[in-house]
């Protein structure tokens, strides 16, 4: 295999592994927040109920 294709293969392998892990972890979860940088309070996530449309934020209503 070409050495230039090796990074592509590794990137795809890592991406597939990461998305597989996410699917396994998120499958039985009620909340969607997995990580937050810093200690600030976390607002309601945009996709808290699966793929349902996101309601308008309070300021836009």
């Amino acid at each position: 295999m070409s050495r230039k294709l090796t990074p592509l293969l590794l990137a795809m392998l890592v991406l597939a592994g990461a998305m597989g892990l996410k699917t396994a972890v998120m499958a039985h979860s009620g909340s969607a927040i997995m990580m937050a940088n810093g200690g600030a309070p976390v607002p309601q996530p945009p996709m808290a109920n699966g793929g349902a449309p996101v309601p308008q934020p309070p300021s836009a209503q």
């Binding site: 990461a18 200690g39 309070p41 996101v54």
Partner: protein, 234 residues
């Protein structure tokens, strides 16, 4: 609004982020681990911006909502770049920097494309889709970072890396990611416990604490003595 304890944890995390940058500058490690320090600096500025937005608009406001998730995505990308920098340090003697950089760009592009594909089906409005894309990208990059950290752990063991500071930086990142995953799993098992509301922000203190320790106490060129070398018979 967060409680007093929440504010204390948030302030502590912010002070620890300052400590990381100060320790890195005082020990002349700022340039060596530039992306790590840029991540800490940007996290510090984001904390200040979030506090201003929170105090002016409130936690349920649209302004705070957008600022929080958009800045979180930027910070996660910075953390991803910091992790790639650690890869470059571990593999620097193998002269494969070009391939590591190429793989990093491909992985970031692939994650962004995957995230777009996930949210594209669900949203018609471009404004809502952009916000959901940013959120999805941030979450997906977290899992990519988790996998990459464990792969880097394996590479460090395989290559018998002995630079103490580098090992401390990678191990603390692994503990940080793992602690979040463990907390997430426990939160799903015990959803009614309010205790977890403080755990996630408290975990945010772990990474800057470990990195500040690594920069302050460990010399940049200090190396661990492998046990098998210490046992060589004369």
């Amino acid at each position: 609004m967060p409680s007093s304890l929440g504010y204390v944890i948030w302030l502590l995390a912010t002070l620890l982020e300052v400590a990381v940058v100060v320790c890195a500058i005082s020990r002349h490690c700022f340039g060596r681990y530039l992306c790590l320090n840029l991540y800490m600096l940007s996290s510090l500025f984001v904390s200040v911006a979030r506090y201003l937005a929170l105090s002016h608009f409130g936690v349920r406001s649209g302004e705070y909502w957008y600022l929080y998730y958009y800045s979180d995505a930027v910070l996660t990308i910075f953390l991803y770049l910091a992790l790639i920098t650690l890869y470059l340090h571990v593999f620097d003697e193998m002269k494969v920097e070009k391939y590591v950089r190429l793989a990093a760009v491909l992985l970031l592009a692939g994650t962004a494309l995957f995230s777009y594909g996930v949210v594209h089906q669900s949203f018609q409005s471009s404004g809502k889709m952009l916000a959901s894309f940013v959120f999805e990208l941030s979450q997906n990059l977290y899992f990519v970072g988790l996998v990459l950290t464990y792969v880097l752990w394996g590479a460090i063991l395989k290559l018998r890396e002995s630079r103490t500071q580098l090992i401390q930086l990678v191990l603390s990142l692994g503990v940080y990611f793992s602690a979040f995953a463990a907390t997430f799993a426990l939160e799903n098992m015990f959803p009614n416990l309010q205790f977890f509301a403080y755990i996630v922000p408290a975990l945010g203190c772990l990474l800057p604490l470990a990195w500040a320790y690594a920069f302050w106490r460990l010399a940049p060129d200090a190396r661990m003595v492998p046990a098998r070398l210490a046992m060589v018979p004369r």
